[in-house]
């Protein structure tokens, strides 16, 4: 990385850098949705005894 670029990045606030990480958000979004909705829901279903 050349100096100019380092300087440029230093001026960008951390929050903005985090907001710009779109693939990080893609990953987090899928993990949260799968864990709390799909996995939890399916886990509940598997613990349900079948009707006699």
């Amino acid at each position: 990385m050349d100096d100019e670029k380092v300087e440029e990045e230093r001026r960008i606030p951390v929050g903005q850098i985090v907001f710009d990480e779109i693939f990080l958000w893609l990953l987090i979004s899928i993990v949260i949705s799968v864990a709390f909705y799909n996995v939890w829901g399916l886990f509940d279903l598997m613990r349900t005894p079948p009707a006699p």
């Binding site: 960008i12 929050g15 903005q16 907001f19 710009d20 779109i22 693939f23 958000w25 893609l26 987090i28 979004s29 899928i30 949260i32 949705s33 799968v34 709390f36 909705y37 799909n38 939890w40 829901g41 399916l42 509940d44 279903l45 349900t48």
Partner: protein
């Protein structure tokens, strides 16, 4: 630096100065046309089923009611909306970023898959070979739906997923090739959020629909209905949140295009989008609130604690968009009292009319009823009543569909490069459509509160209902006639403009009522959006009153002694 050796051809838009990749432009056009075709088919089905639910008319026999209900649900909720969103993604990733489309062939492949998939569904649905409605709940499909119906939906979802992948690739390439500076523009950011939600949605759709498909061709014997419902709703619910994110992105765009100004706080608006990314998919659980086997913890965590954080995101947008307009107007000098800025907005400009009506119907009818019904206890009396379609017609028709319609009026001159015909119709259309669909929604909601079930051609066979129900259902019918008229006005403007007349370059963004440019802010000056603040407080009071009234009604439904 360029990533691939392919060369793109561009034109430069004379109004916006954006560079327009011609391949991307062609994909925007075909996706938009496919969307409008689906809207037409779905609209014809809409008026027929609505006139069936209006008992005084009682148009269709039950068999046709269900057949056309399937046609309506799939065409509107899936094909119209998703094709339009694909057009939006190409727009946001290329035109707004001055970027080129890395592999146009992939875009055409995606479009081809989606068209073939949609055709399979159209044919099986219209010929009565898949009268299972868009939810296709197991085990209903056992002998009802043809394999082509599932295959069609799967192909459509895969095609859309390919297009979403191309969208991400385009955004990354634009960054590498430095076609834009700094962070992504807010509108593109909103579309990125839509694409993030779409990835999860479309993957879930494939997981949900493959087992029933395999069943219909005899490879597996049985699909567990509860498992199906879990995966179906991680497709069906987030699909609406793609709409939400795309609609909000378009709200910002139309606000800037028709009124001017810029978001009061980019940080806050982006944070609100991030709340969607994190939490909005959890709301899927509100479709399962009456399902057996799911724990109280699962239901309440997902539909309340998680979901409310996403609702917070919507509230932030609902504040920051009007605030943006108010600040722009006040800078122009409309500073008298609380609301001069509001009166002096460009109410005759079709895009602004669509923005204003869409925000109102979405928030005040769709949002308020949705959050209320998504409460577990209240859903016990709302589930599967007409209240549910009442809520989502306000959201996805009065909100999303109307926003998309308004945006089309600008796509015509800027992308199709045609003059918009019948401007008078275009000015009135958002108001009429908003009125019609609000009547449909309010009629459905009040009928539902009185116990009328959804998805029934004839309520007399179902149960005793109070006489006032007939009034509610008549309101649905009358609203449907108005909304259908406005839908035809939209189609008339779009078809006449796109398919007749010579190609002309646009000369300005505004179609009817151009606004003065917003004067630059003086150093250190601060304009407070006081009027917006008052509107927001009134909204919150209405919201609270509606919510509490529903608990009160619930208390009158079941007396515990």
């Amino acid at each position: 630096m360029t990533l691939t050796s392919e060369r793109a051809e561009y034109r430069v838009c004379p109004v916006t100065q954006f560079k327009v990749d011609l391949q991307s432009e062609a994909l925007i056009k075909v996706n938009a046309v496919a969307a409008v075709v689906a809207l037409t088919i779905g609209g014809i089905a809409a008026i027929l089923i609505a006139l069936t639910r209006w008992e005084a008319v009682g148009l269709l026999p039950p068999e046709w009611f269900y057949r056309l209900l399937t046609v309506h649900g799939t065409n509107m909720l899936i094909f119209w909306i998703v094709f339009f969103e694909m057009a939006g993604l190409y727009f946001g990733a290329t035109i707004l970023l001055d970027a080129r489309l890395p592999k146009p062939a992939v875009g055409w492949l995606a479009f081809g898959l989606m068209v073939v998939g949609a055709l399979f569904v159209e044919i099986t649905a219209l010929t009565g070979n898949s009268t299972v409605m868009f939810t296709a709940y197991e085990p209903l499909g056992s002998n009802e739906a043809s394999p082509l119906f599932y295959l069609g939906l799967i192909l459509f979802a895969v095609g859309a997923l390919v297009a979403v992948g191309l969208f991400f690739a385009t955004v990354v390439m634009a960054r590498v090739e430095k076609t834009y500076e700094g962070s992504l523009p807010l509108v593109t950011y909103g579309l990125v959020v839509a694409a993030i939600i779409a990835t999860y949605t479309l993957l879930s759709g494939a997981v949900a629909l493959v087992p029933p498909f395999l069943r219909t061709i005899g490879i597996i014997e049985h699909v567990d209905p509860a498992f199906y419902r879990n995966f179906f709703w991680s497709f069906g619910h987030p699909a609406q949140q793609i709409n939400l994110a795309a609609m909000v992105a378009i709200w910002y765009a139309m606000g800037v295009m028709t009124v001017g100004g810029s978001p009061v706080s980019e940080k806050l608006s982006r944070f609100a989008f991030i709340l969607y990314v994190l939490f909005i998919n959890l709301g899927s659980a509100h479709h399962l609130l009456v399902d057996p086997g799911l724990s109280f913890g699962f239901k309440t965590f997902n539909t309340s604690y998680g979901m409310y954080l996403a609702v917070l995101g919507s509230m932030i947008h609902a504040f920051s968009i009007p605030a943006m307009l108010e600040v722009a107007q006040r800078r122009r000098g409309f500073t008298n009292g609380l609301f001069e800025w509001l009166r002096k907005l460009p109410w005759r400009e079709p895009g602004f009319a669509a923005l204003a009506v869409s925000m109102f119907v979405f928030g005040w009818i769709g949002g308020v009823t949705g959050v209320t019904m998504g409460t577990e206890q209240i859903d016990m009396v709302a589930h599967n009543t007409l209240r549910v379609p009442g809520h989502f017609h306000a959201a996805v028709v009065g909100g999303t569909t109307l926003a998309f319609m308004g945006f089309t009026y600008y796509v015509i001159p800027l992308v199709f490069r045609k003059r918009v015909k019948f401007l008078k119709l275009a000015t009135w259309q958002p108001y009429l459509f908003g009125l019609g669909i609000s009547l449909v929604a309010v009629g459905m909601i009040t009928a539902g509160i009185q116990g009328v079930p959804r998805r029934t051609a004839d309520i007399d066979v179902v149960r005793e209902v109070p006489g006032t129900v007939h009034l509610s259902l008549a309101v649905v019918g009358i609203g449907a006639l108005i909304a259908f008229t406005a839908l035809c006005m939209y189609l008339a403007v779009v078809l006449a403009s796109v398919f007749t007349g010579p190609r002309v370059e646009a000369t300005s963004l505004a179609l009817v009522q151009p606004m003065e440019p917003v004067p630059a802010a003086a150093e250190g000056s601060h304009v407070a959006p006081k009027g917006t603040f008052v509107i927001v407080l009134v909204f919150l009071a209405f919201f609270a009153a509606f919510y509490l009234a529903n608990w009160w009604m619930l208390g009158r439904t079941w007396f515990v002694s």
